[in-house]
């Protein structure tokens, strides 16, 4: 009984970790989206800089755009992966819950 209870708690903890991760990814996604929007409004001659460590390095607009697009792609992939893990953990939790209920009834 305590065994399955401990397992339930463990899975619940893992689920919470995934949900936190998902929220972090969402924040990153929104920030990158804002950057893309801002790039759209730039004039062709506007100089873009990237903060690398503590230095601002000039970058080409195309390069910056490519970078952010790639990052968006990556983040979206991570979100998909994370959502899948969340769903898996949720079904696992449900199964465990049913199991506990059954044991309690006996």
């Amino acid at each position: 009984m305590s065994d399955i209870g401990a397992q339930y708690q463990k899975v619940q903890g893992e689920l919470e970790d995934f949900i936190m991760n998902r929220q972090k990814l969402e924040t990153q996604l929104q920030e990158n989206k804002i950057v893309v929007e801002e790039f759209e409004t730039l004039k062709a001659e506007t100089q873009v800089y990237k903060l690398t460590g503590n230095v601002l390095l000039p970058v080409e607009q195309d390069e910056a755009r490519g970078n952010v697009d790639k990052r968006l792609e990556f983040i979206n992939g991570e979100i998909d992966r994370c959502e899948k893990s969340i769903k898996e953990k949720q079904t696992e939790l449900e199964k465990l819950r049913d199991e506990i209920m059954r044991q309690n009834k006996q």
Partner: protein, 155 residues
Amino acid sequence: MSQKIDLTTLNPEQLQAVKQQFDQELNHFTQSLQALIVAKNKFSECVNDVTTISSEENKSQKLLIPASASLYIPGQIKDNQMFMVDIGTGYYVEKNAEEAVAFYKQKIEKLDRESVQIQNIIKEKTQSSMAIESQIRQAAIREHEASKKKVPAAQ
């Protein structure tokens, strides 16, 4: 939370649980609203800074640039119409004073819109929370009266 639950069908323990959940959500939204207000103030400061620095009397203004927390280097503003604006994720863009102010004002407007949304949610949640509270009270009264009736019957 789109599903509707008839509060009168819940027992006091369930009502407590629902209320707790609502209060938690309420807390979360209040915190979000606070964060939005903090961010908005930061952007407003930026607008003020840009307007101050780009004003005529600050042309070629001398200033001290912090090289570390306790070391300053004398400097001079070379161009008080150009600003480096952080647009997020480590990218910076050169903007003139007008564009920079427009950028920040746009951000502030966006935050304002979102604040209104959150305020509406908070209002709704507060009302729901109060409704649940009154249900809890009524449930308690019902229970109290039920137990009062029981006592004389037992005597």
